[in-house]
Symmetry: C2
Subunit: 211 residues, 2 copies
């Protein structure tokens, strides 16, 4: 299907122009015309690929999330190869969460696009659908890892895995925001995440089980 | 100083027009002209009070934060009057954190203005100054409450109060974002905050002290 592949490839190229704008001056007030200029295509051509700014924004966000997933997966597979066994659930969880923080230029650009998406989505039910679909999936995945850790005796019992997973996602979101605002450095954000994980996995915290 | 009071009053009125726009269609792409129209003043008159959109945004954000502070302080004072003593540090901490969540229309509008500020500030060093100044003050205040709680034997020792305070602020920020995106309800956000506080204050979690 060369035609379809080509269509997707053009969409990706245009969406990369959106990233470049997002990572430099931000998307506030940026029009389809601005993105067309950055991509070096006419407005009419851009509109053939994206009917609206929001459609383009969601496409760019999905693409960025896919690339982030891929980078995280590669890091975990690399670790698995070095360990010559499945990495422990806590390791996988920590790699995923760290991969969501703006620790390098790739993830920083991703988070800047996400910030633009956020500012729009709070006012648009259709755009919110993207977060309402993606976040519960992520929560379930993290809750599954926490459950595995508990089964291996690495996490105190008596935890609500869904709740702890959602707390982790929310914490990383806040740490990301304050990193982008330069309230703390990326390294400090990672340290705070690790501090939280240490406490979550802390064996002493077993009061609820009657120990 | 009637003249100065009047000036501030006009600035507050114009900033309330900005809130109304923020709470309905959002501030993305909104110009000074749009705000002037909403406030029922001419563009020239608005520019007499605010030289730029960003100056207005920071003013609106500060005003909203002041009003939120006031509401939180009133709730704590009311509780103190009912208890006929100083409320415990954990109570004060929880009231402050809950007051930062978009649990009612007041705080929801405040958070929508904050979302617009965030989208701009990630690209503007001067705007970021607002967060870089305010957040460390808030962290110090919360760290002080955690220290008081530890001194009263209500919080396990061996905690880094600054780190725990920054984790709390980041968590509330993330919970707020996912509430505004309708990923969870305000009530669920509050429940997750309480779950985190329960664990932070959990007496069993004293491994680091050698118990």
């Amino acid at each position: 299907m060369p035609k379809k592949v080509d269509h997707e490839e053009r969409r990706r190229e245009i969406s990369q122009a959106l990233w470049r704008i997002a990572s430099t001056r931000g998307l506030d007030g940026v029009s389809l015309r601005d993105v067309a200029a950055e991509a070096g295509v006419s407005l009419g051509r851009l509109q053939y690929y994206f009917r609206s700014r929001d459609e383009m924004l969601v496409f760019a966000l999905r693409q960025i999330n896919q690339l982030a997933d891929q980078r995280i997966r590669e890091r975990i597979e690399k670790a698995a190869a070095e360990l010559t066994e499945q990495p422990p659930p806590r390791f996988v969880l920590r790699e995923c969460l760290a991969g969501m923080l703006p620790l390098d230029e790739h993830s920083r650009i991703g988070q800047l696009v996400a910030a633009a998406y956020f500012a729009r989505a709070v006012h648009d039910e259709r755009l919110r659908g993207e977060a309402r679909e993606g976040i519960p999936k992520l929560r379930d995945f993290f809750a599954g890892l926490l459950r595995q850790a508990a089964e291996r005796g690495e996490l105190p019992t008596g935890r609500d895995f869904d709740e702890e997973a959602m707390i982790l996602i929310s914490l990383v979101d806040g740490l990301t925001a304050y990193t982008l605002l330069h309230v703390h450095t990326p390294e400090e954000a990672l340290r705070l995440l690790d501090r939280h994980l240490d406490r979550l996995f802390e064996p002493g915290a077993a009061r609820q089980t009657g120990l």
